[in-house]
C-alpha cells in the first residue's frame, strides 16, 4: 500500500474505476496492475494473484461483463469500463450466495478456495454470453484456469448444473443475462 501523501509525485496519477457499480478515485502509479489496485488499494481481496503472467486465471474479473486476467491489465487501462469482482456475486452485500456460488458448494467444486473466485467470474461471464453452453463447451472454458485441488471434474459439474437450472427456470426466453433465479 502506497502511504505517501504525494499527489504531485510525477509517478502518480488519479484514475477513476467503476467497480461493482461503485465509483472509486484512486491515486496510483501507472505501472500498477488492475488486480493489485483492486486488492490493495480498494481492499477487494476476493480476487487472487496466482501467477502474474496470465496463465492461472486466479485473478479473473469481468471487465464490461467479459472475463479478463486482472494481472495482465494496468488499472489505468480499466478507466471507463465497468469492472465486476467476486464480491459482486453474493446478493444483499455478501449475505446470500447466488446460484452459481451455491452450485460450487453443492458440487464440492472448491477445496482450498484460492482459485475459486477466478473460476466463478470466468463462469459468470461465460454463461451470460453462452447460456446454452454444453458440458463439453463448459469444460473447454474451465480449461482456461488452473486449479490444484479438485481435478476440475466438480467445477465442470457445478457450472453445468447452474446453467441447466438457469435454463429450466427460464423456460421462456430469459432476458436476465446474469440469469439470477426469478
Amino acid at each position: 500500500m502506497n502511504t505517501d501523501p504525494v499527489v504531485t509525485h510525477p509517478d502518480l496519477q488519479l484514475i477513476t474505476l467503476d467497480v461493482n457499480g461503485e465509483r472509486h478515485d484512486v491515486i496510483t502509479e501507472p505501472r500498477r496492475t488492475l488486480v493489485d489496485v483492486l486488492r490493495h488499494e480498494l481492499r477487494l481481496t476476493g480476487t487472487h494473484v496466482g501467477c502474474e503472467h496470465g496463465i492461472c486465471g486466479a485473478c479473473t474479473v469481468l471487465v464490461d461483463e467479459r472475463p479478463v486476467r486482472a494481472c495482465l491489465m494496468f488499472a489505468a487501462q480499466a478507466e471507463g469500463s465497468s469492472i465486476r469482482t467476486v464480491e459482486s456475486l453474493s446478493e444483499d452485500g455478501g449475505g446470500e450466495l447466488n446460484d452459481l456460488q451455491r452450485a460450487f458448494s453443492e458440487h464440492h467444486a472448491l477445496q482450498c478456495g484460492f482459485c475459486t473466485p477466478g473460476f466463478l467470474m470466468l463462469a459468470e461471464g461465460f454463461l451470460a454470453e453462452r447460456p446454452d453452453a454444453t458440458k463439453e463447451e463448459i469444460r473447454e472454458v474451465v480449461a482456461s484456469n488452473l486449479c490444484r485441488c479438485t481435478g476440475y471434474q466438480t467445477i465442470v459439474e457445478a457450472i453445468d448444473a447452474c446453467a441447466t437450472t438457469r435454463r429450466r427456470t427460464c423456460a421462456t426466453p430469459c432476458d436476465s443475462p446474469a440469469g439470477k433465479e426469478h
Binding site: 487472487h48 475459486t116 471434474q153
Partner: protein, 792 residues
C-alpha cells in the same frame, strides 16, 4: 468415553455441505496476502543467479538509494541462527547440514536468498533488487546423481562426503542372493521420476510484526506446521518460544510444500523485528516455481524374483533421491529414501527384501515432502516389476497381482511393519470388474483392429496414514510428530469451540471435524466451531501432512468431545442426584433416562460458569477439556486400486486419458464428498507427474521452470472425470474408524498411467519406466525410433 453416548452417526458419514464455502465463494476468505497492517512494508529477496559459488562480495549499498526502499539486510546484518534438520542416526547414515536463513559464504542453487529488501510496496522492493551487486567466485555445479557420486566431484557441503546426506541399508533378508540365483523368473526395472513442484496455487508468504503489548513477534504465514515454524523462528531469532506467535489464515493449498520451514518467512520476521514495522513477503510465481521446495526426483534400480506361477519371492532395490541443496526442517533429507526403504513392499506378500536408500545433495533447489512422499515412486517400481513378470510368464496383469496381494490380516511384512486390515484383493477385483463392465477391453480390441493404440493399466497400493509417534520414532527423527491435542470448550450459550493441532489447507477440517464433535455431543453443527492454526490458541500440534488430520487430529477431537460429554452428564447427574450412567445426551440437552428430567446445554453451562456454587466438590467449574491421541503401533493403512485407460496418438505422441477408475478404502469416510474431492485432486496431481510436470536444469544449473509457459500444469483438458468406488474397512486404531485419505490419488496415478501407456505400446515391444512420459518418447516408440530413456 464411558458415560457419554456413542455418536449416533447423524452427521459422520454424510456429505455435509462445507462450512468454509460461503466465505471462500463470496471472496471473503482471508489469505496471507489479504492481510494489511498499518505502516506495513514489503519484502523481496535478492537471489543467487548461479548454482554453485563462493560469495565474493554482496554490495547492497545502492539498494538503499532506490526510491521507496526502506532497508536491506544481508546475512551479516541479521546474524541469525541457521536452520538445521536432524536425524538421530550415526554419521555413516546421516550427515546434518546447516541451512542459513540468508546465504552467508556460499550459494548452492539458483534462487537461494542472499539479501532481503524492504520497501514501501512490492513494486519498489523489486526495483531495489536490481540495484544489488553480488560477485560470485563460481564453482562447478553438481547437477545429477551421477555427477554427485563421481570420484573427485565438487562438494555441495564440505561435510557431506560424496555428496551423500543419507545412506541406509535395511532389511537384508538372509539368503536373498540364493533366492535370486534359483528363481525361474527374475525381472529388473530402472525407473526415474522427474523433479516436480507441489505447486499450491497460493504461493508462500508471511506478514510479520512486533506486538509491543504482548511482547510478541506475530508471524502470519501460510504453513502446514505452525508450531514448528514457531520453534525455528524462536531459535533463529534467539527469542523465547512464547515471544513468537504463528498464525495461519486461510491457505491456498500446500500439498507438503508448506509443511517445512522456509527461510524467507524467518527472514521476513527478522526484518520486522529489526524495523519494528510490519513486513509482508509474498513469493512470486517465478520464485515459487524455481526456488521453493521441490520434490520427487528419484532413481530406482530394482529386481524381483518370481516363481513359475508369478508369486514374488524376493525384492532387491537401490533407491537414490536427489534432495537438492539442503535438508528440509523438520523432516530432513531422510524423508524420501527412508519412506521408500521402509514401505516399498506395499500390498504384496514379499518373503525376502533388501534395500539401500540414499539421499544425494546437488546444486538444485532443495526438496521437501510432496503429497505421497516417495510412495508414487516405489509403487511405480513394484507395479512395473509385476507387469514385467506378467509379460515374462504370460500371465494376465491383474491375475499376477491377485496372486500376490496380502489377504490375511493383520499381516506382518518382511519390512517389520504390521498391516491392519484392508481390502487389497476386493479393491483389485472391483476395479477390474468396473473397467470390464464399461467395455474397455472390447473397445481396446476394436481400436487395435483399426490400428489405434488403447492401453489399460492398473496400480495397487496401500499407504500408511496413521503415523503416530512410534512410527516416526522408528525413522529416528529428532522432531517426532505423532500425537495431537484437542481442546473442546463450551460457553454459557451452549455453543462449542474446539481446536486441532492439524492445519487445513483445503481438506475441509472446519466441516469434517465439526461433524465429529456435533455427533459426539448430539449438538447442532451450527453450534460447533473449529479453531486451528494459531500457536497461542492451540497448545501444540504437528500440523497436517501424511494424511494425519482425521486419523490422529480427528481422534483427539473425538476424545475431547467425549470428555466434555462426560462432564455435561456428570453435572446433570449431580443436579438430579443420580449416577452419570443414567444421563444421556440428545439434541443439545442432557436427559435422564426413563424420566422427564431435561437440562439443556445452556442450563448446564450456566451452572458450570455462572453458578458454580451448585457444582459438587469433585467437579471443577467451567466446561473446557483437552484430550490427546497417538497411535502406538505401526499405524493404519488406507488402500486403493487405480485403473487408467489411455489412447496414444501416433501423429503427435500425445497420451489421452479416456477413463480413470479408482476404488478406495480409507475406512470410515467422515464426509464422502470430501474424500472423493481428495481422491480426484490427488489423481490429477499424479497424472501431472506421469505426463506433464518437470523441472529440469541446464548445464549451468539454471532451472527450466520459471513460469507456467515452461511448467505444464494440466487443465480440465488433460484431467479426465474419475469414477470412484468406495470400500470401507473401519480402522481399529483410530477413534473415528477413519484412515487417511489425502494422498492416495497422487500415489496410485503415476503407476496406473505408466502401465496403461506400456499396455498400449505392447505391439511395439517398447517398455517405458520413466516419468514424465513425454509426447516425444511416445512418438518415438510408436514410430520405431530408438527410445530416449536409455540415454537419460
Amino acid at each position: 468415553m464411558s458415560n457419554s453416548p456413542v455418536s449416533d452417526g447423524k452427521l459422520v458419514g454424510k456429505a455435509v455441505r462445507r462450512r468454509e464455502d460461503p466465505r471462500l465463494l463470496a471472496g471473503r476468505g482471508r489469505f496471507v496476502d489479504d492481510i494489511a497492517l498499518p505502516g506495513m512494508l514489503h519484502a523481496q529477496f535478492v537471489r543467487s543467479t548461479v548454482a554453485h559459488a563462493e560469495l565474493s562480495s554482496v554490495d547492497v549499498s545502492a539498494v538503499r538509494d532506490v526510491p521507496g526502499v526502506v532497508a536491506v539486510f544481508t546475512a551479516e546484518d541479521l546474524e541469525l541462527g541457521d536452520i538445521v534438520a536432524q536425524l538421530g542416526r550415526p554419521l555413516s547414515e546421516f550427515v546434518p547440514t546447516a541451512m542459513p536463513v540468508l546465504a552467508r559464504d556460499k550459494v548452492r542453487y539458483v534462487g537461494e536468498p542472499i539479501a532481503i529488501v524492504v520497501a514501501r510496496d512490492a513494486y519498489a522492493a523489486e526495483d531495489g533488487l536490481e540495484a544489488a551487486k553480488v560477485s560470485y567466485a563460481t564453482l562447478p555445479p553438481v547437477l545429477s546423481e551421477e555427477a554427485a557420486f563421481a570420484d573427485g566431484a565438487p562438494l555441495v557441503h564440505a561435510e557431506a562426503a560424496r555428496n551423500t546426506l543419507v545412506d541406509v541399508s535395511l532389511f537384508a533378508t538372509e539368503g536373498i542372493d540364493g533366492i535370486f540365483d534359483a528363481a525361474p523368473c527374475v525381472v529388473e526395472v530402472d525407473t526415474r521420476t522427474g523433479r516436480q513442484n507441489a505447486l499450491p496455487l497460493e504461493t508462500r508468504g508471511a506478514v510479520a510484526h512486533w506486538d509491543d503489548r504482548e511482547e510478541q513477534l506475530v508471524v502470519h504465514t501460510c504453513t502446514q506446521i505452525p508450531h514448528q515454524v514457531r520453534t525455528v523462528a524462536s531459535r533463529c531469532l534467539r527469542l523465547d518460544e512464547r515471544a513468537v506467535r504463528v498464525v495461519v489464515p486461510d491457505m491456498g493449498g500446500g500439498f507438503g510444500q508448506k509443511c517445512v520451514v522456509g527461510r524467507e518467512e524467518i527472514a521476513a520476521a527478522a526484518a520486522a523485528l529489526r524495523l519494528r514495522r510490519p513486513v509482508k513477503w509474498i513469493e512470486d510465481r517465478k520464485d515459487a516455481l524455481s526456488a521453493s521446495f521441490l520434490a520427487r526426483e528419484q532413481h530406482y534400480r530394482a529386481r524381483a524374483a518370481f516363481d513359475a506361477e508369478g508369486r514374488i519371492l524376493a525384492l532387491d532395490a537401490d533407491v537414490v533421491c536427489d534432495m537438492g541443496a539442503y535438508s528440509c526442517y523438520p523432516f530432513t533429507a531422510g524423508i524420501e529414501p527412508l519412506m521408500a526403504s521402509a514401505e516399498m513392499p506395499g500390498v504384496y506378500k514379499l518373503p525376502a527384501y533388501r534395500v539401500r536408500g540414499r539421499a544425494v545433495t546437488t546444486n538444485k533447489a532443495p526438496t521437501g515432502p510432496y503429497r505421497g512422499v516417495s510412495r508414487p515412486q516405489y509403487v511405480m517400481v513394484m507395479e512395473r516389476l509385476f507387469e514385467r513378470a506378467a509379460r515374462r510368464l504370460a500371465l494376465d496383469p491383474v491375475e499376477i497381482r491377485r496372486r500376490n496381494v496380502i489377504t490375511e490380516f493383520p499381516y506382518k511384512g518382511v519390512n517389520g511393519i504390521t498391516y491392519d486390515p484392508g481390502s487389497y484383493l476386493e479393491s483389485l477385483n472391483l476395479c477390474e470388474r468396473s473397467v470390464r463392465e464399461e467395455g474397455w477391453y472390447e473397445k481396446q480390441a476394436a481400436a487395435a483392429a483399426e490400428g489405434r493404440h488403447i492401453g489399460i493399466g492398473y496400480s495397487c497400493f496401500s499407504e500408511r496414514t496413521g503415523y503416530g509417534s512410534a512410527a516416526f520414532a522408528q525413522r529416528k527423527m529428532q522432531v517426532v510428530p505423532g500425537f495431537d491435542i484437542s481442546e473442546v470448550r463450551m460457553d454459557t450459550s451452549g455453543a462449542v469451540t474446539f481446536t486441532t493441532g492439524t492445519m487445513n489447507h483445503g481438506q475441509s477440517h472446519e466441516t469434517t471435524m465439526a461433524q465429529i464433535v456435533a455427533d459426539e455431543l448430539a449438538l447442532d453443527i451450527a453450534k460447533v466451531r473449529l479453531h486451528q492454526g494459531d500457536t497461542d490458541r492451540i497448545t501444540y500440534g504437528f500440523g497436517t501432512f501424511a494424511s494425519r488430520s482425521i486419523t490422529i487430529g480427528g481422534s483427539a477431537v473425538r476424545l475431547a468431545a467425549a470428555k466434555l460429554g462426560d462432564k455435561l452428564c456428570a453435572i446433570a447427574a449431580s443436579r438430579w442426584g443420580v449416577a452419570p450412567e443414567e444421563v444421556e445426551l440428545t439434541e443439545g440437552a442432557a436427559r435422564r433416562r426413563n424420566a422427564q428430567d431435561v437440562l439443556t446445554y445452556e442450563e448446564i453451562a450456566d451452572i458450570a460458569y455462572l453458578r458454580a456454587h451448585l457444582l459438587p466438590k469433585d467437579i471443577e467449574p467451567g466446561l473446557s477439556v483437552t484430550a490427546t491421541f497417538d497411535v502406538f503401533n505401526d499405524g493404519t493403512f488406507s488402500n486403493a486400486t487405480h485403473a487408467c485407460v489411455v489412447e496414444l496418438h501416433a501423429g503427435t505422441g500425445q497420451v489421452e486419458i479416456l477413463r480413470y477408475v479408482c476404488v478406495e478404502d480409507c475406512g470410515v469416510a467422515i464426509n464422502p464428498q470430501v474424500v472423493e474431492g481428495q481422491c480426484r485432486g490427488g489423481i490429477a496431481q499424479g497424472i501431472a507427474g506421469a505426463l506433464f510436470e518437470q523441472v529440469t536444469y541446464d548445464a549451468q544449473g539454471e532451472p527450466s521452470a520459471t513460469g507456467f509457459m515452461d511448467y505444464k500444469v494440466p487443465t480440465a483438458h488433460e484431467i479426465p472425470d474419475v469414477l470412484i468406488h468406495h470400500l470401507e474397512t473401519p480402522c481399529a486404531f483410530t477413534e473415528t474408524g477413519a484412515k487417511g485419505a489425502g494422498e492416495g490419488g497422487t500415489i496410485g496415478a503415476p503407476a496406473a498411467v505408466l502401465n496403461a501407456v506400456n499396455d498400449a505400446l505392447r505391439p511395439t515391444g517398447v517398455e517405458l519406466d520413466h516419468t514424465p512420459i513425454t509426447p516425444e518418447t511416445v512418438h518415438r516408440a510408436l514410430n520405431g525410433a530408438p527410445s530416449l530413456e536409455s540415454s537419460s
